[in-house]
């Protein structure tokens, strides 16, 4: 199982070489993997039918309780088979569709990685692993949407999709971590059995809100729906894949997956039901309003996602089953239609429905496939879409609350869906032939195979629904619902209310199609309103972010060393003083002057005076001289307080420093009065504050020892182990010899640097002279 999930990533890494090896047949060659995976996942079906869900476990980060475990049940298998099955058609199709594209190899890498991420997402049993795969799909889809990266629209759309989905992903992560904390486990198979405990917990509401937010952004629910139609900037095979089986269905998957643990409450019903219904209506209205082929399909995907969200929100046995049936039906016809949109683009150069018409003669097979897929979309007897539609009506009519409202919304949407189906299935193919940008011709077999098989499956499942119902849909619905569901699917449900609604929607939908052009003109006002929609909000937010970034950069990265220092120092001081003030009772200031001798006072006074002199003098030589005085004063302190070695070193170094400064300083300019008095006072205040804080700190910590110094070890072992009587020496050259080696390196490096800079100048001068 681990290998099956990761095989997509593995193949992605070698895809460019395989592409070179197989040339134009690489689509078929690489498509073999999804096909194999499809069969592999299919082989699990009988087993889980008999033994129930299967958990396959690999340790990953044992310390953090993150396991790479996979949950194989009806729901994950349904998704996994859709992903791999449609993936096969997409990859083989893309092999021809993007044949002449120079970045085809890159496309293979991305789409395979994307497929593997999706598989990991739907199969993960661990919340953290699920989240990692979730983000991987966001990132790979970003790269796929922006595949034509030289196109600015594509880049913008990709970024938009990324921001929206990753923003939701952040909410999701918070929700998942809270869920894991409440449930006491990060394994889905353990969490989902604790539904009652979860729903009674005070954190239930935030958890649901956060997870639903993540799912809504991914699945393009209102008000996050705007990124999906924009994502149409991607190449057609990508759109087909993202829309039919994968990316956007990830949110639906998550909601379905969480249903046993979180679903069934009023909150759940309200959130998912209402937002789903609104999304459904918004999506389909926008679809009818659009004319671009892919845009119409994209908005109808928004509608389908809304429908599924609503059905999962309703949460009845029937609604869950309807959601699963609808999911499968939608995946089949939507993939077929998107691939056909690519065929239209490829074979006739059309990207807009207004440019098309009468292509039936030039592209007979495409016409047939389009008709089948569109009939399934419209939900016409005897196609699979009809069953989905009947179940949808039944489920909404039996909704636990607001049943009539949901049913009416579903029915209104269905009318417009019929109109969209007619636009897609009739408009390009029938009627008077229109001059197309390139002479219309039928697409090659590799591009027709996918849509043909998918459309025929729609017919087949419609005629023989029990084939798929028993093997795949019932286990899937059961694992969502939490208990076995067995509802025989049948094409014919008898004369009842749903059938009446279905027929009425067909008639009204065709009427809408008949007056499509007038309708669009009439509702042009809507476009004005849409411009103020959530996309506007997104753009405003992005601009605000850029402005804040500018302002912040200007403020913090201003290029003045002293402002950086001031910020650092002052925040340190404030934090330290605050800590001191808060713990005032525990702090003892150690202040004892009794043991200080007179000559020590003199040295300290000289030291301070020299410091003041070094700071205030306007003469460079004076400054250097006082600096030397400070250094020798410090050396005296070392000598007086039992550190002869340090003292000797200090004296040597101080001498060298003074010589060096004297040598170099006189090649540098005189001190200039660069700053005003006010600034000097401000800087002096800052400096005094820092110095004062250090003093306070020293007074308070000087008597504090949290643990024994390791010095005692060095003192005891210096002679026995290191054979040296000068302990400081032994530490430097024996116990801490590596540190000393590092020190020597630093010095050598500095020496090389100094030498190089002086040498460089000498050469330059020589050249200038000659």
């Amino acid at each position: 199982m681990l290998f099956a999930v990761l095989s997509g990533f593995l193949l992605a890494t070698v895809a460019p070489w395989l592409h070179r090896l197989f040339g134009r047949h690489s689509g078929w060659a690489l498509g073999a993997l999804p096909l194999g995976l499809f069969m592999y996942f299919g082989s699990f079906l009988p087993e889980i039918q008999q033994n129930g869900p299967l958990v396959i476990d690999y340790p990953w980060v044992p310390g953090l309780e993150i396991r790479l475990s996979f949950l194989v049940d009806g729901l994950s298998l349904l998704f996994a088979m859709l992903i791999s099955g449609i993936g096969f058609f997409i990859i083989s199709y893309a092999g021809r569709y993007l044949e002449s594209h120079r970045d085809l190899a890159r496309f293979y890498v991305l789409i395979l990685a994307f497929m593997a991420s999706m598989l990991g997402l739907v199969l993960s049993n661990n919340l953290i692993a699920l989240f990692v795969f979730w983000e991987l799909t966001s990132i790979t889809s970003y790269l796929l949407i922006g595949f034509n990266h030289e196109d600015e629209d594509a880049r913008k759309a990709a970024l938009q999709g990324l921001f929206v989905t990753v923003g939701g992903g952040l909410a999701l992560l918070a929700g998942l971590v809270m869920l894991g904390m409440v449930a006491g486990s990060y394994e889905l198979s353990e969490i989902l059995t604790q539904g009652e405990w979860l729903q009674a917990h005070p954190w239930y509401l935030p958890i649901v809100l956060l997870i639903v937010l993540g799912a809504f952004t991914k699945s393009a629910q209102v008000p996050f729906h705007f990124w999906l139609p924009n994502a149409m900037a991607a190449p057609t095979p990508v759109s087909a894949y993202l829309h039919s089986a994968t990316m956007v269905k990830a949110g639906v998957y998550l909601l379905a997956r969480c249903y046993p643990g979180l679903g069934g409450t009023q909150t759940w019903l309200f959130l998912l039901g209402v937002f789903g219904a609104i999304t459904m209506l918004t999506g389909i209205v926008m679809a009818v309003r659009s004319t671009g082929i892919k845009r119409v399909l994209a908005y109808s995907t928004v509608m389908a996602l809304g429908t599924m969200t609503m059905l999962i929100g309703l949460g009845t046995e029937k609604a869950i089953l309807a959601a699963m049936v609808f999911l499968l039906a939608h995946a089949l016809y939507k993939a077929a239609l998107f691939l056909l949109a690519g065929v239209l683009d490829h074979g006739a150069g059309c990207k807009d429905f207004l440019q098309t018409g009468g292509l039936r003669r030039a592209m007979p097979i495409s016409t047939l496939i389009a008709a089948l897929a569109a009939l399934s979309l419209a939900g016409v007897l005897p196609l699979f879409g009809f069953i989905a539609k009947e179940l949808l009506f039944e489920a909404t009519l039996q909704a636990p609350r607001w049943a009539w409202l949901f049913a009416f919304a579903a029915w209104s949407a269905a009318i417009l869906v019929v109109a969209v189906a007619a636009i897609v299935g009739i408009r390009p193919w029938y009627g008077a032939p229109v001059q197309t940008p390139i002479p219309a011709h039928e697409a090659p077999p590799a591009m027709l195979l996918g849509p043909a098989v998918l459309a025929l499956l729609g017919v087949f499942f419609g005629l023989f629904p029990w084939v798929i119902a028993y093997g795949l849909l019932e286990p899937a619905a059961s694992s969502v619902y939490g208990q076995p569901i067995s509802l025989p699917l049948a094409l014919w449900h008898g004369f009842n209310l749903p059938l009446l609604m279905s027929v009425l929607s067909l008639v009204l939908g065709l009427l809408v199609y008949r007056y499509w052009d007038q309708l669009r003109a009439q509702t042009a006002l809507l476009d004005q309103w849409v411009r103020f929609g959530p996309e506007r909000g997104y753009e405003a937010a992005m601009q605000a972010m850029v402005r804040v970034a500018h302002w912040q950069t200007a403020l913090l990265q201003n290029g003045y060393l002293r402002y950086y220092l001031m910020a650092t120092l002052l925040s340190t001081v404030v934090l330290l003083l605050a800590a001191l003030a808060l713990n005032a009772s525990a702090v003892q200031f150690y202040f004892d002057l009794s043991g200080v001798m007179l000559h020590e006072y003199v040295i300290l006074a000289v030291l301070l005076a020299a410091t003041v002199m070094a700071v205030t003098t306007r003469s460079r030589l004076g400054a250097v001289a006082s600096l030397g005085a400070v250094g020798f004063g410090v050396a005296l302190i070392y000598v007086l307080f039992s550190a002869p070695d340090v003292g000797i070193t200090q004296i040597l170094v101080e001498t060298l420093t003074v010589i060096l400064l004297v040598l170099v300083l006189f090649r540098l300019p005189r001190f200039l009065g660069l700053t005003s008095t006010a600034l000097r006072v401000r800087d002096a205040l800052i400096a005094l504050t820092v110095g004062g804080t250090i003093t306070l700190l020293m007074l308070s910590t000087i008597s504090t020892h949290y643990f024994d110094s390791i010095s005692s070890y060095f003192i005891e072992n210096s002679q026995p182990e290191g054979y040296g009587r000068n302990i400081v020496n032994v530490i430097l050259v024996d116990f801490r010899a590596l540190d000393t080696l590092g020190e020597i390196f630093v010095l050598a490096l500095a020496a090389v640097g100094v030498y190089a800079m002086i040498k460089l100048r000498a050469d330059r001068l020589k050249k200038g002279e000659s």
Binding site: L604, T611, S642, S711, R725, V746
Partner: protein, 111 residues
Amino acid sequence: MAFVVGGLYAAAIYMILRRSIVKLVIGLVLLSNAANLLIFTLADMSRGAPPLVPLGALQPAGAVADPLAQALILTAIVIGFGVLAFAVVLIHRAYEVVGVDDMDKMKDTDT
């Protein structure tokens, strides 16, 4: 002692905040002295007890000053000198190339 270290820190920071790059160097020297003294003071100060082992003995007689802090400071002094030498020559070079001593002006001359 604490007051001296605090004073040294204050002076060093004041110098570092100046615009003249030569003053920055002086500030650095003061700062390294201040830091060394800080470490030295925080390890217990004791008079006339250098960390030496008498001839022929295995342990020092009686308590001695903390040798670890001294070793640290010794290293720090030498490194501080290396850094200083490098900085001084670097500044000298920069001054030759750029021709200004004012850090605010150097900021804009990186072309």
